[in-house]
């Protein structure tokens, strides 16, 4: 692992200034970043890491103004254990609890979890062994290679890697907003496919908070994750649902380069009672537009099942 400078930012402005030079990268929990540096997966390497955990007031969970507010540097373990989140924003608590391992949840932050890079074993192969389109290269190696964990909804910008966040679909289902030092973005619009990023964040833009509107009384949410292992693993598919009144919100992840809002599934179950038959139909609708590769057909079946089961989990 190459050496880098490490600085503790005291303010957002200080962190933003450091980023503006183009040679620094933010670090909070560092659970994704350090791995990418250690494996030297990117063509460029930061000269310095700017620690934002030292900035005051980025680590909190509170309800005010009809919404849940979470500081960007709040640890996933704290979100998973928070009684208010567990009760009213259940899908988010469940999602945070299913991230990685206890150690990583004790280090990883909500901001880092939604801003992490995508999972693709070609993209992540050490020493930049496969300089793919997400690194400025000219091709997607997974497209012609082993893509068993990749997208079932086609490519975005010719990339078929999937977004791996567990908390992202929960935030989208819960209709959250991402607050940065520059603006506030709908969670659904926050994710993007860039070189090499996964978000709409500008180079000097910093996530500061997450805002989740308090669901109406009687609303219920749920999150399910399907992975090979019961711990550590990134999802093969995950799914979050919010059932509030007659208009449910359903979001899948790990099925496409960005979290996938299953609008057809939402339409299929809108206004209907949630029972096995309707949930099954919603599951089928969720994958109606799937265009799986030969090796990812199984993910369609799993996505369909997870939508059904997540809906039934709210009953």
């Amino acid at each position: 692992m190459k050496a880098f400078n490490h600085t503790n930012a005291k303010t957002l402005a200080e962190a933003r200034t450091a980023l503006a030079g183009g040679k620094a990268t933010l670090i909070a929990g560092g659970t994704d970043l350090i791995g990418t540096l250690k494996d030297n997966i990117l063509p460029t390497y930061p000269e310095s890491l700017v620690n934002i955990k030292t900035i005051p007031d980025l680590d909190y969970i509170k309800e005010e103004g009809g919404m849940l507010k979470i500081g960007a540097a709040t640890r996933l373990a704290d979100i998973a254990a928070n009684p208010v989140v567990k009760e009213k924003y259940t899908a988010l608590a469940q999602a945070a609890l299913r991230v990685a391992t206890p150690h990583i949840r004790d280090m990883g932050t909500i901001g880092g979890n939604i801003a992490q890079l995508h999972r693709c074993w070609y993209f992540r192969k050490p020493e930049n062994r496969f300089p793919c389109i997400r690194k400025g290269g000219d091709r997607c190696f997974a497209m012609m290679g082993d893509n068993r964990y990749h997208s079932i909804f086609g490519a975005v910008e010719r990339c078929i890697a999937v977004h791996p966040s567990d908390t992202a679909p929960a935030l989208i289902a819960l209709n959250a907003k991402i607050v940065t030092n520059k603006r506030t973005v709908e969670a659904e619009a926050f994710f993007d496919v860039k070189v090499p990023g996964n978000t709409v964040l500008a180079a000097d833009e910093i996530i500061t908070a997450i805002q989740v509107p308090t669901p109406p009384a009687g609303a219920k949410s749920a999150f399910l994750k399907f992975a090979i292992r019961k711990s550590i693993d990134f999802p093969i598919v995950n799914c979050a649902v919010l059932v509030a009144g007659g208009a449910p919100r359903i979001c899948l992840n790990a099925v496409a380069p960005k979290p996938y809002r299953a609008t057809k599934a939402e339409a299929a179950i809108a206004g209907k009672p949630i029972n096995a038959e309707n949930a099954e139909a919603a599951g089928a609708a969720a994958v109606a537009d799937a265009r799986p590769l030969t090796a990812t057909k199984y993910k369609v079946q799993i996505a369909k099942t997870l939508v059904k089961r997540a809906l039934l989990a709210t009953v």
Partner: protein, 789 residues
């Protein structure tokens, strides 16, 4: 009882042997982080070194820019394939032209290291030595190596084809393929005799061993005039214990006798019989000799994703009578030869002692195509459980399914008797294991696809048997010492995670009538005794030798006690100067050695146990030694595994299959094992847990994935290679029997890898859903089998 040739092999009362939870002598060091592994050693003024490793699956390095690399700050030395030191490396003393092979390897290397890389991350003959690891990396980059990329084979089914590119010389075969056979009887006649014939495919994924501590070595040379005034001695840390002796096998590469090679570290890291020395462990003395400074070289985990089990594809044809009795077995397999040096124990070695020889079947034909590939290396491994064992397990389940019978019934029908395949008698150990296993698991066989669980998942169950391995090809040199009234067991260790040293100490305590904690285990790297030689089977074999040694020491102790009782030393001062007084008569006075015994730390008179003296006082100032060299009486591997059945074990499992997602959960494993006699219960239990971890992993999760276009591994990391986590491990119910039918101490055999299985879970999945799924049975495969993907 088989321990008929040894002392006390018939012992019936055990106070120490078999007790649970006696602490490991080194457990505190391991638990607290005090333990130093090879990678932990840092010496003053130490340099670092790295090999140039290939980014390609098959390539030849054509040129490197040495001048540019030497300009990198911190780079101290560079070796290439043109360097005489590297060309001659491994030819001890310059006298031998035979290239070195790693410890315990069955394969051959053409040179220690050359310009050819046979797999991704394979070392080639370019080494950078520098002040820091970073400087090594920069130096390697500055070399700007130019590679000739060659065709690769990472799909052995493609590699076996006549038109496949030949990836390396293959003097004993054709193309990439070497064919090996092992036949018994007349298989065609056996098929004619059969009422039914089944054919099926039995496929195994490769499996990674994951030695917990990736290897590293650090070495330096020093003058020890007491050893030699002409030749320097070598200090080296990191070489693992091997069949040929770890540090000593490295020393031999440099023409050194054992006395001139010193290694302090006891800790080898737990391992699954991966005893192969890596190049980094062999080369550091050379680099130190060139630079005059200590040199360290380490391997990353990515560079050490070596196989513990090779990939194999097998097509089976089995004939059987309508009662389930097998009449013919034809096994055609295609096995990965991997990259040299590679153990033949994972390929052709399986044929000689495979599962078929445990049956009454007279007609067996085994043909194996061993295919050279660029997939990876496999060092010594798995020999206690031929990995094709479950080819037979699968046959038993298919036959049972066809006849609508319990597979245990079919297994019992086909298992031959204790002495050989013509022996009609039952095997008592097997019978006992089955009886207890049925109780343990509440075994209630159901037909395929017949049981749905309340949560909607399908239930399946399966059964297999194996034999507990016996070990007697290794000799051991045990030494025990009594000084200052305390018994010492000097040993070089090592600590490999199997607690063999502790098992031996328990036997010493048992034989000497002492407590476990009364035995001082003295680790000394220059000692000879190393109670290894496999896993638990090596432990029981070395324990047999130690038992004999303990009884020799005991004889001396009793003789010393008699002598001391007759001529007690004066008490209270120096008798010759008048300060002493006559001691009280010893309670042992007047006895002969044969009148005495030792119990609870006291020497006592057998006919009058009230007359006793604590051991230390009984022997006074006696300083006693006993040594014993030898091995247990019989060698199973000399007769061929499976042809002789004494101690057996069985495993069962239950699974739940989610037919909507393809997810398989192992609900529980059940194990009944008869190791003959339990020596160290805690080790035995842990061994079972370990092999069940292996079994869960290779059947549900673990596999290597390669990019077919480049031949590089895609998942050589702990995230993408799906080693089971603790949460993935099911309950493992265990029960142990002691028939005392083994050959080692007290009739013990080993347990080793015999319960490791590749298809027990797969058979249970079939029982649940009526579909065969190749391991690992990942959701994609299960759903595909169910027609849902």
């Amino acid at each position: 009882m088989a321990d008929l040739e040894g002392v006390n092999g018939q012992r019936e009362e055990f106070k120490v042997v078999g007790k649970p939870n006696l602490p490991g002598r080194l457990s505190y060091s391991l638990a607290t982080g005090i333990a130093k592994f090879g990678a932990d050693y840092v010496f003053p003024d130490m340099l670092h070194a790295k090999f140039l490793r290939s980014p390609y699956a098959n390539a030849m390095v054509k040129s490197v820019d040495v001048a540019a690399a030497k300009k990198v700050p911190g780079v101290v030395d560079i070796l290439t394939w043109e360097d005489e030191d590297l060309i001659n490396f491994g030819r001890a003393g310059g006298a031998s032209k035979k290239p070195p092979t790693g410890g315990g390897m069955g394969g051959q290397q053409s040179a220690f290291v050359d310009q050819i890389a046979d797999m991704e991350d394979d070392e080639v003959a370019v080494i950078v030595v520098a002040e820091t690891e970073e400087a090594c990396d920069e130096g390697l980059k500055a070399l700007n190596p130019q590679w000739e990329v060659r065709p690769h084979v990472v799909d052995i089914l493609e590699g076996r084809k006549p038109d496949a590119p030949v990836i390396r010389e293959n003097p004993r075969g054709k193309g990439n393929v070497t064919v090996v056979t092992n036949n018994r009887g007349d298989v065609e006649a056996g098929f004619k005799e059969a009422d039914q014939i089944i054919e099926y495919d039995f496929n195994m994924p490769a499996f990674c061993g994951h030695v917990p501590n990736p290897y590293a070595s650090v070495a330096y040379w020093y003058h020890d005039p007491l050893q030699s005034t002409e030749q320097q001695s070598l200090r080296i840390e990191g070489p693992v214990w091997t069949a040929s002796g770890g540090k000593d096998s490295v020393g031999r590469m440099y023409g050194l006798p054992s006395e001139m090679v010193k290694q302090e570290s006891l800790f080898q890291g737990g391992k699954y019989c991966d005893w192969g020395l890596r190049k980094v462990q062999q080369i550091t003395p050379l680099l130190s000799r060139r630079t005059g400074r200590p040199v360290r070289m380490a391997i990353t985990r990515k560079e050490m994703y070596d196989f513990n089990m090779n990939q194999r594809f097998t097509h089976m044809k089995v004939g059987f009578k309508n009662n389930g009795l097998i009449t013919a077995i034809e096994d055609f397999s295609i096995a990965d030869a991997g990259v040299p040096p590679v153990s033949t124990l994972g390929t052709s070695g399986d044929q000689g002692y495979g599962p078929y020889f445990t049956t009454r079947c007279l007609n067996i034909k085994q043909t194996m195509e061993v295919v050279n590939s660029n997939r990876g290396k496999m060092y010594t491994s798995g020999q206690h459980c031929p990995f094709n064992w479950d080819a037979l397990t699968m046959a038993l389940h298919i036959i049972a399914d066809k006849l609508n019978k319990d597979p245990i019934e079919i297994a019992t029908l086909n298992l031959h008797g204790p002495t050989d395949y013509t022996d009609p008698n039952p095997v008592p150990s097997y019978e006992a294991c089955v009886k207890e296993g049925k109780k343990l698991m509440n075994w209630n066989w159901h037909a395929t696809g017949a049981k749905k669980l309340p949560d909607g998942r399908m239930h399946g169950a399966a059964f297999r048997y194996q034999m507990c391995p016996r070990h007697s090809f290794s000799s051991y040199n045990s030494k025990l010492e009594l000084r200052n009234g305390k018994v010492h067991m000097p040993t070089q260790g090592p600590c490999t995670g199997i607690y063999a040293v502790e098992g031996n100490a328990m036997v010493v305590a048992e034989e000497l009538g002492l407590r476990y904690e009364d035995i001082s285990i003295d680790f000394d790297p220059m000692e000879v005794f190393a109670p290894v030689g496999g896993g638990s089977d090596g432990t029981t074999a070395s324990a047999w030798v130690t038992k004999e040694c303990a009884n020799l020491l005991k004889k001396q102790i009793l003789e010393a006690a008699v002598k001391n009782a007759e001529n007690p030393p004066a008490q209270g001062g120096f008798g010759g100067f008048g300060g002493g007084k006559a001691p009280a008569p010893s309670p042992l006075k007047g006895c002969k050695a044969e009148d005495l015994d030792i119990k609870d730390g006291k020497v006592y008179v057998k006919s009058d146990p009230g007359r006793s003296v604590p051991l230390a006082r009984a022997v006074g100032q006696a300083h006693l030694f006993a040594t014993f060299s030898g091995r247990p009486p019989t060698a199973l591997w000399a007769t061929g595994m499976g042809r002789y059945l004494d101690t057996m074990n069985i495993a069962m499992c239950e699974v739940a299959v989610d037919t909507e997602t393809g997810q398989v959960e192992i609900v529980r494993f059940g194990v009944v094992a008869d190791p003959g006699k339990v020596i160290r219960l805690t080790s035995l239990e842990s061994q079972i847990d370990q092999v069940m971890d292996f079994s869960a992993g290779c059947q549900l999760q673990e596999d290597y994935f390669y990019d077919k276009n480049t031949g590089v591994k895609l998942n050589a990391n702990m995230l993408d290679y799906k080693k089971v986590s603790m949460l993935d491990m099911p309950r493992v119910d265990k029960q142990f029997l002691e028939t005392r039918a083994g050959n080692a101490a007290y009739g013990a055999n080993g347990i080793s890898h015999s319960l490791a299985n590749t298809h027990l879970v797969i058979c249970a999945i079939y029982n649940a859903i009526g579909k065969w799924v190749d391991p690992p049975a990942t959701p994609d495969k299960v759903l595909k089998a169910l027609g849902k993907a």
